[in-house]
């Protein structure tokens, strides 16, 4: 009986609309609901942007641009497809366009190099190690094409399966695997050149 009673009490999760329902609410004339969608997706969008771009301020600007584009194109969303796939496609398109701008790519590399210098505080233990790996990643991933880097980030950091990445980018799964393979090779070479202490990991394995 207690279990039945518990089931009848609406929980926060059951009241909160899912992504599709929220979009339907926005389309039906409640634009304020869009703010709820922004709050829900901010960390997801920002994390992906930051890992692709490697600069917090640029990642924030790009994330905002993504949400503005999302607002402008919300009518085009087909509810038959997963919303996150559609959102990720928008993020990758905007981020790749940004990365293709030569000036911004140079800024990304410079900012990551600056971070490498300021993040070697031995007092911070694990955090520093993770931050160090992050800085190494941004430094060595500068050799990747925007698409290679985007695929690498989605696969290795966001743990998305290759099939999902292919759906997001609108390409074949084999293309995703090729980009991943090439990205790893290029980064290993760059790691050997810039950070030989880390490249030993791969050398020992070989």
């Amino acid at each position: 009986m207690a279990a039945e009673l518990r089931l009848m009490i609406p929980t926060k999760e059951s009241v909160e609309p899912d992504d599709r329902q929220l979009i339907q609410i926005i389309r039906e004339g409640e634009p304020e609901a869009f703010e709820q969608l922004v709050r829900r997706k901010t960390t997801k969008v920002y994390s992906l942007c930051y890992r692709i771009i490697g600069n917090a301020e640029d990642a924030k600007d790009i994330s905002q641009l993504v949400f503005i584009k999302l607002w402008e194109n919300l009518e085009k969303y087909d509810a038959a497809y997963a919303f996150d796939t559609w959102l990720y496609r928008m993020v990758t398109n905007v981020a790749i366009d940004f990365m293709r701008n030569k000036q911004s790519r140079e800024n990304a590399v410079n900012s990551s190099l600056r971070l490498v210098k300021t993040s070697t505080d031995p007092e911070q233990g694990v955090v520093v190690q993770r931050k160090e790996i992050e800085n190494v990643f941004h430094a060595v991933s500068a050799v990747l094409s925007p698409k290679q880097k985007t695929i690498f980030v989605m696969r290795e950091m966001d743990d998305l399966p290759s099939a999902e990445i292919a759906r997001i980018l609108g390409c074949r799964e084999s293309t995703v695997r090729n980009h991943l393979f090439n990205a790893r090779k290029l980064m290993q070479a760059q790691l050997k050149k810039k950070f030989p202490e880390y490249s030993r990991l791969w050398e020992e394995r070989a």
Partner: protein
């Protein structure tokens, strides 16, 4: 333990991460994933900025639309005025048009024709005028219905 759970553990445990990287060095960069990042200033400020920009764009868009619509309306009104003006002019011209000039007067021949009757349709008869009374009268008859070896 699922792959996702294992990865999550690796991202929080240095000892296991070191071991995982020794087995597969590709785990090196996987160590920095997983965790969701917060934009500078926090989610609330970010969402608020986005909504402000959207409202601003919406307002700009409305103003731009109004500015775009005003010339269109003016152009449409001008077109209507021009159309009415042209119609009025055409009507005016039609109503005050001068009477058609009279038909050309029929020239009365001073002399009687040499050939008064010729029983054929489509024939052309030309009489060459004479200067004096003693001149030969030349009459040419062009008639396609006549035989060629006449």
């Amino acid at each position: 333990m699922s792959d996702a759970e294992l990865l999550e553990h690796l991202r929080g445990c240095d000892a296991c991460l070191d071991h995982a990287m020794a087995v597969d060095p590709d785990n090196f960069f996987r160590a920095i994933g997983g965790q969701e990042l917060v934009p500078p200033g926090g989610v609330d400020a970010f969402a608020s900025d986005v909504m402000t920009q959207i409202r601003l764009r919406h307002t700009e868009g409305s103003v731009a639309r109004r500015l775009l619509i005003a010339p269109r309306r003016l152009a449409a009104a001008a077109a209507v005025v021009i159309a009415i003006g042209i119609s009025a002019l055409v009507y005016d011209r039609n109503t005050t048009r001068p009477a058609a000039p009279p038909a050309a007067p029929v020239v009365q021949l001073a002399t009687k024709p040499v050939v008064e009757t010729y029983d054929s349709t489509g024939a052309t008869i030309i009489e060459v005028p004479v200067e004096g009374k003693n001149d030969t009268q030349v009459v040419m008859i062009f008639d396609e219905s006549l035989p060629a070896d006449l």
